[in-house]
């Protein structure tokens, strides 16, 4: 009986010790912390930095403005297809690209997908509930000139405990009317992982 009690007490103490050992520390989001070797926030940040730098420096903006009497191009974000071996959410770096469009004011951005559906639903609601002066009209949305699409690919080469993972992220801008691709951004990341 005494032995059992002693055993239960030691197990409880061990569990409590483990529970109390957890430590959470806030770190800088730009700090490079690699734990598993899989896709992480550093990879997403590297892609975002590369894409924002190249998309705003490319000629497609000036070409568009020259052809359209100085009007800024309007972009909508389409699909990004993740064809890699890991679950990767592209929104983490696509949002950074969108943010650069808005903050630099060189490119106009229009909402798409579910958010656009929500906007239209709100507009529909206003048709019967809002005052006539504040009611927003249908049919006045800004049409996009370009669509931003992308793909994520990966190659894994592994043997026993060694592994090299290669990621290639591409974003491309296509003229919606002519289907002409006006810009392709690319970021390649290779990681050597030893387990």
């Amino acid at each position: 009986m005494k032995k059992n009690l002693l055993f239960a007490a030691s197990v409880t103490a061990y569990v409590l010790m483990i529970a109390c050992n957890r430590q959470v520390t806030r770190i800088d989001p730009s700090a490079q912390v690699d734990i598993s070797g899989r896709w992480n926030n550093t990879d997403s940040r590297l892609v975002a930095e590369e894409m924002t730098k190249t998309v705003l420096g490319a000629n497609w903006i000036t070409d568009h403005m020259a052809a359209k009497n100085g009007q800024r191009p309007t972009v909508i974000v389409g699909f990004v297809t993740n064809k890699s071996h890991e679950h990767i959410e592209a929104e983490t770096f696509v949002k950074d690209v969108e943010q650069s469009f808005v903050t630099t004011q060189r490119v106009r951005l229009v909402q798409g997908g579910k958010k656009r559906e929500e906007l239209r639903a709100e507009k529909a609601d206003q048709q019967t509930n809002a005052s006539a002066s504040s009611m927003k009209k249908f049919g006045l949305e800004q049409g996009a000139d370009y669509i931003l699409q992308g793909s994520i690919n990966s190659i894994v080469d592994s043997h026993k405990r060694n592994k090299v993972t290669y990621y290639q992220v591409n974003l491309e801008l296509t003229n919606i009317e002519s289907n002409e691709v006006v810009w392709i951004g690319e970021k390649k990341i290779a990681k050597a992982i030893k387990n």
Binding site: F79, N82, E86, E91, G112, H159, K160
Partner: protein, 139 residues
């Protein structure tokens, strides 16, 4: 009456001719005159396609990875053992280990405890049942 009908018909014909003529005029320079076929096709599917804009389509593949495969095999084995334990807990160990298991234990000693079932021939056959498995061998 006939005159009215004729004038109405002419008016309608004129209206349709004007409308069709305008639609012909609406073609942009070098635009394909058959564009309406494609437009009508994609107008039907635009809503369902565009609802997924700004999202990531996950079309992942399974990479060849020795460590990951080993971990997966280990997880499979653990899951199998867990299921086996659950089955044993549900049906009892006799179901898996006891060669003399009877489906209706309460009948034991009543119907089967006679010379016919206890003779050497019958028990000999029963002893050939495998010791491991999911208990589908009692007949």
């Amino acid at each position: 009456m006939k005159k009215d009908l004729l004038s109405a018909f002419m008016l309608l014909t004129g209206f349709f001719l004007t409308v069709s003529g305008k639609s012909q005029l609406a073609l942009a320079p070098d635009q394909n005159p058959n564009f309406a076929i494609s437009r009508d096709k994609y107008m039907k599917m635009a809503d369902s396609l565009n609802a997924w804009h700004s999202t990531t389509l996950q079309e992942n593949y399974k990479a060849i990875d020795w460590l990951a495969d080993r971990a997966e095999a280990r997880a499979d084995r653990r899951e199998f053992r867990r299921q086996l334990r659950l089955e044993r807990a549900r049906w009892g160990n006799d179901y898996y280990y006891d060669n003399d298991y009877d489906y209706y234990p309460s009948y034991r000693g009543q119907y089967y405890n006679n010379n016919y079932y206890n003779n050497r021939y019958y028990r000999g056959n029963r002893s050939f049942r495998p010791r491991w498995g999911f208990g589908l061998w009692w007949h």
